[in-house]
């Protein structure tokens, strides 16, 4: 469904990504695990056209979408939930969600959008209870739910999540990932980039390891979770 081929990204002289190859299939949850500064955000931003790539291609359903502007990428149904959630903190929860359907308002019937809104509310009952609350006053976990819900309002085919666990307590992280797993039911394919290797590997089908801008490993997530090298480097596990 989504293929990234030989992708390189440069910021001026600094090369952030080297020859990246990844693939996301329909209804899959794929994780990309890497430490600070490994290039996770750069990768996601390049897919959504926020950052221009230097070399390589991004293919969506056999169409070349490399370097298209972000609003065009969104039209294809590729939605990013940005790092740090970036909710619209001065607007209410419901206004945030409605803005998620921004492009749909142009061409679709309003009732359809409200249908999606109801779906989101049943997926996230907390958001329904707080729909008139100013989004900036939500807790971190709730804000993450809102950011995901807002993304879903666009009816995406692919959702790209940038560090959904950022700054959340372990229990809340689990909750967020449980929701993410349920998105499969909505026919959304998911690419997650994470520093939290454990949560990401435990909740995905396949995973890539990214180190200083290069993919260094790729396997089924459960295999990586049991891989000694990974356990040492990312999971902080003592050797048996």
């Amino acid at each position: 469904m989504l293929k990234v081929k030989n992708l390189s990204v440069k910021y001026g002289e600094i090369q952030a990504l080297h020859d990246i190859n990844i693939e996301l299939k329909k209804n899959e949850i794929v994780a990309i695990v890497g430490n600070n500064g490994a290039g996770k955000t750069s990768l996601i931003n390049t897919i959504t056209g926020i950052v221009q790539c230097y070399d390589g291609e991004i293919i969506f359903n056999n169409e070349n979408i490399t370097n298209l502007p972000t609003d065009k990428i969104v039209k294809y149904g590729i939605i990013q939930v940005p790092e740090g959630r970036e909710i619209f903190s001065e607007l209410t929860v419901e206004e945030n969600l409605e803005l998620g359907a921004y492009q749909r308002f142009k061409k679709e019937d309003k009732n359809k959008i409200f249908e999606t809104l109801d779906e989101i509310y049943s997926l996230f009952p907390i958001l329904k209870n707080r729909k008139n609350q100013i989004a900036g006053t939500l807790s971190g976990g709730e804000q993450q739910m809102l950011a995901i819900g807002r993304g879903l309002m666009a009816k995406p085919k692919i959702m790209l999540l940038d560090e959904p666990s950022l700054g959340l307590a372990p229990l809340i992280v689990e909750e967020v990932f449980n929701v993410i797993k349920r998105l499969r039911e909505q026919e959304v394919s998911i690419l997650i980039v994470e520093q939290n290797a454990y949560a990401a590997l435990k909740n995905s089908d396949r995973a890539y390891i990214i180190e200083t801008g290069k993919i260094t490993m790729h396997d089924k997530s459960e295999n990586l979770l049991n891989n000694e090298k990974i356990q040492e480097a990312f999971l902080g596990k003592r050797r048996k």
Binding site: I50, T70, D71, I79, P82, E90, L91, Y102, Q103
Partner: protein
């Protein structure tokens, strides 16, 4: 919604009352300048407060409006209304040309570009004497007319200036509360999230920038046809800075802030004429104090107080 229009009506009544009470043409001038500044500052509020971009060149857009009107009417005998329309068009194109490349880039490149524009504009109107009259400016600009009714006195002009001022407030209010306004609010809250949702961020920024420049141009044309004489010093960088202070003072993310900011600062500016050389210091001090104590501006601060009280 209703509240907005009621407030607008009250302001219109107050202005009308003032216009009948005030006899001095100097005070009428100040009242008119407040209206003209409101027209510019409401555009700046949309630009700074909603689109998150700063312009240091709005005095130049004001000037482009004024000079286009003046040149077209005095040299080419163009009808003042048509001249005003052409001036808006010219200003819009110039703003578009500046906005397209600078607003595509992240960061505050627009400040630099507009600062440059204002400096270049000031030099051109002083140097290009054949057209602009150089340092002496242009005199004998005709009044605006509707049929045989000529806007040829402070009081008659007052209706016109305030008509445009209130109209621009209405335009801004409706813009902020439309789909575009939602997009602007989103952009203002988080540019990255706005673009992730498919909002074409740079397109909106350019549109708002062009709109704000056009509003300044309208104010400039009105000014030219009002005082009938214009000269370069009115349109210098210092006035651009004053406009920014007005926007910040009133509250740049508010509609009413434009009126409050231009009202207070136009009056303060006039009072400061008595201390001449120190006026810049006082204005700077006001800016610093506002930024330190009520960064959201007077109207923003009052709105927040209200919200807190309701809680």
């Amino acid at each position: 919604m209703k509240k907005f229009y009621i407030t607008l009506l009250i302001i219109a009544v107050v202005v009308l009352l003032l216009s009948t009470l005030i006899k001095s043409s100097y005070f009428l001038l100040i009242l008119n300048l407040i209206a003209l500044n409101t027209i510019i500052v409401i555009g700046l509020n949309l630009l700074i407060g909603f689109a998150g971009q700063i312009s240091l060149g709005h005095a130049a857009f004001y000037g482009i409006g004024a000079y286009s009107s003046a040149i077209l009417t005095t040299f080419y005998n163009v009808n003042p209304w048509i001249a005003m329309l052409l001036a808006v068009f010219i200003t819009g194109i110039i703003a578009y040309i500046i906005g397209i490349p600078t607003l595509k880039l992240k960061g505050h490149y627009l400040v630099m570009a507009t600062l440059g524009l204002n400096i270049i504009f000031s030099i051109i109107i002083v140097q290009w004497e054949v057209f602009t009259g150089g340092p002496d400016g242009i005199a004998g600009i005709p009044y605006l007319q509707i049929g045989s009714f000529s806007f040829d006195s402070d009081k008659k002009i007052l209706y016109l200036c305030w008509f445009f001022a209130l109209l621009s407030l209405i335009v801004a209010y409706n813009l902020v509360h439309s789909r575009v306004g939602r997009a602007l609010m989103a952009l203002h809250n988080s540019e990255i999230a706005a673009s992730c949702l498919g909002i074409n961020v740079s397109k909106y920024k350019v549109k708002i920038f062009v709109l704000s420049a056009m509003l300044a141009s309208i104010a400039g044309s009105l000014y030219a046809h009002y005082v009938t004489f214009i000269s370069p010093e009115t349109f210098g960088i210092m006035f651009s800075i004053k406009l920014i202070i007005m926007s910040i003072f009133g509250g740049m993310s508010t509609i009413w802030g434009a009126l409050v900011g231009s009202g207070c600062l136009t009056i303060i500016s006039e009072l400061l004429n008595f201390v001449k050389d120190y006026s810049t210091i006082v204005l700077g001090l006001i800016l610093v104090l506002v930024l330190m104590f009520i960064p959201q501006g007077v109207v923003g601060y009052i709105t927040q107080l209200k919200i807190n009280n309701e809680k």
